[in-house]
Symmetry: C2
Subunit: 400 residues, 2 copies
């Protein structure tokens, strides 16, 4: 089986850790036969490079910045290949460009357009472990590009897709995906298996082990994604398609997002297209909206409630100043969103009321509610957010 | 005029220094119009990388080592381009490969085969300062190679040759080439102008500002080479062809080499071909011989004296064990070689006797003598080497 493994910056943080990664790679090579390993830059290398560049001003030339940043993975990939070779394992490192990762020309946030796998396949056929520098590619005009945050994960998943890999393993410094944030709820459990869809909902809510771009790509290629800990032998969490998951829990996990602010447009004139007008303005300004609630109109007036990332609040309020025919605009950034996620909801009714009842028992006031097929989100005051998280974690029997 | 400038590791050691280099480059751009800048890795980067690699064993995979090492210049070239752009100067960094530097496939000590200057010329035509990562190239099969010690100088000179540059400036942390080592002879003077030939003799004797490979290449292309200090505005030393030097001093400089050992083959049977046999054996073992002196035979026996680098002494003695028909082999590594160099010797007689007389006055015993058209070397005991150097420096009126 062809497997793509990805090791993050912490896993590659220093020679001793790279040596440990090399040992694990050699074990995996015995197990899987064909192995492509994608690596991030060592430890804080990327931040160190950004600091160097910032010496010369806040905004560096983007072409040159990408050349600077991409060298971090050139270093770590060469070192891992050196470590593997020193242990007797044939290994060959490739830059993103050499690995055939073609991107568009948007420096620092390029998107992968295509992958030419010829060179990797040739090396695999010669029994090399192919070590690919993550986070980078080459533009159609032959310039080095980088893929932005989470870029090495994306390199790994995209390579897995292009190579029709049987599995893509993402090694980090945590054991996998948890039912909720273990720093807040110590009784949070590691999830053994979860669907792409649930993972997407949990990730966007703050479970930052994997970026959504990577999960979406894995879903597109239907490649099982495993996140696991490079520092131990725990099995990790398998992210796969819903059909392949035998036991579908009603609730898989609960996410907390404290990075949202709530905006309330009070007494807007209720005419057809008012919502389209409001959110068109915001979309035009590049502001992402999350939950939206519109009340039933009374006396021809309606309230439009929504949440935005805290960082976008100011821009949002600025844009809305131009709105005609509204009463006032209120906002509140002392809120948090708690989301209950599970594919089992599709076939189970009563989950929403179970959420509301559990919170009511603890006297937690719900400010907003939003639902999707596999998710129920409630907005609460930030002061009771952790209590809400713990309450729901217990109510849905997720505690260890 | 098209000018190639090269900045070494000390000149690029940290952001403040890179900023100073950028300011100098911008001044030069105004002066010269077309500017290609070759950079070394920042400060001790290359040594740091070697230490990382050595963690995994004394001998790293050479392909991967070159990939690791070459990233040092990728970093420094991108940072210089970022600095230039931040000051409003259009700049574009290129790796050795992108700059068209084609080498053979000998990792860690590749030789430049050819340079395709198309991309550099295209960028120069668009008024970019082209910043080239030194010390590296690409092999015919598309693999990154490095050029070995002094490699960035070589990149600069080779680019200057391929681009028919009017000048190649090598920036280091010293003011230029001195009449002798100023650490030993404080009254040593900076040389304003020197011929390639003299420079080659001085460099091979230990004046380590420029490696011979670079001087030879500059001589081949007949490109004036200037070494100067990046930390001040001193004019530096111009290395050029003998014809272009108006005032030809009889003695340009005096070099001290304490890295040689003397080997004496005593009472070798004197038959035609004995010297060929001895030095054939040593050449076969890759041992470089410097001075050779063979005495006139007496009673059919002769002494063969020569010097070898100290590091090769053991190997040399091992090889010579197989020699037949000799008396004994003596060796002595407590020696030093002092060489008086000057193109003026070609037209002046009496320089050799001036050397011997000056040393005799100080009671310095000469162990061996070797001469060439533009050089007289004497081997003395290491204990009197510095006295010999000072004596000759004064005798030939080189003192400040």
């Amino acid at each position: 089986m062809l497997v793509v493994q990805k090791f993050g910056g912490t896993s590659m943080g220093g020679c001793a850790r790279i040596e440990a990664v090399a040992r694990r790679v050699i074990e995996s090579k015995k197990l899987y036969e064909d192995l492509v390993v994608v690596v991030s830059a060592m430890g804080d290398t990327t931040d160190d490079f950004l600091n160097l560049a910032h010496y010369f001003g806040a905004r560096s030339n983007q072409r040159e910045l990408d050349r600077l940043l991409s060298s971090g993975e050139q270093i770590s990939s060469a070192l891992l290949a050196i470590a593997l070779e020193s242990m007797g394992q044939k290994a060959c490192s490739l830059s993103g460009s050499e690995a055939g990762i073609l991107t568009d020309a948007r420096y620092t946030k390029a998107q992968i357009l295509d992958i030419d796998t010829a060179k990797i396949k040739e090396l695999l056929a010669q029994n090399f472990v192919v070590v690919v520098a993550g986070f980078q590619g080459i533009s159609p005009s032959g310039e080095i590009t980088t893929l932005g945050r989470g870029g090495s994960d994306l390199s790994a998943v995209a390579l897995a897709g292009a190579l029709h890999a049987g599995l893509c393993e993402i090694y980090t410094d945590v054991d996998g995906i948890y039912t909720t944030d273990p720093r807040i709820v110590p009784r949070a459990r590691k999830i053994d298996e979860i669907s792409y869809e649930e993972m997407l909902e949990l990730a966007s809510m703050g479970a930052k082990v994997l970026f959504n771009r990577s999960v979406e790509l894995a879903k597109k290629y239907n490649i099982p994604l495993v996140t696991r800990n490079s520092f131990n032998s725990t099995e990790g969490t398998r992210i796969t398609s819903e059909e392949k998951i035998l036991e579908k829990p009603i609730v898989s996990g609960i996410a907390l997002d404290t990075d949202q602010a709530r905006v309330n447009i009070v007494d807007a004139l209720d005419y057809p297209g008012i919502a389209g007008e409001v959110f068109g303005l915001l979309a035009g300004a590049g502001i992402n909206i999350d939950l939206i609630v519109q009340t039933v109109a009374r006396n021809g007036k309606t309230d439009i409630n929504f949440t935005v990332p805290k960082g976008d609040l100011e821009a949002c309020l600025h844009v809305l100043k131009n709105l005609q025919n509204i009463g006032s605009i209120e906002h509140d950034d002392k809120i948090a969103k708690v989301s209950v996620v599970g594919v089992g909801m599709r076939s189970h009714s009563g989950i929403a009321s179970a959420v509301f009842n559990a919170l009511a028992k603890e006297n937690i006031n719900i400010l907003m509610i939003g639902t999707s097929e596999i998710k129920i989100s409630v907005v609460v005051e930030v002061g009771v957010a952790e209590l809400a998280l713990k309450t729901l974690h217990t109510a849905f029997k997720l505690d260890l």
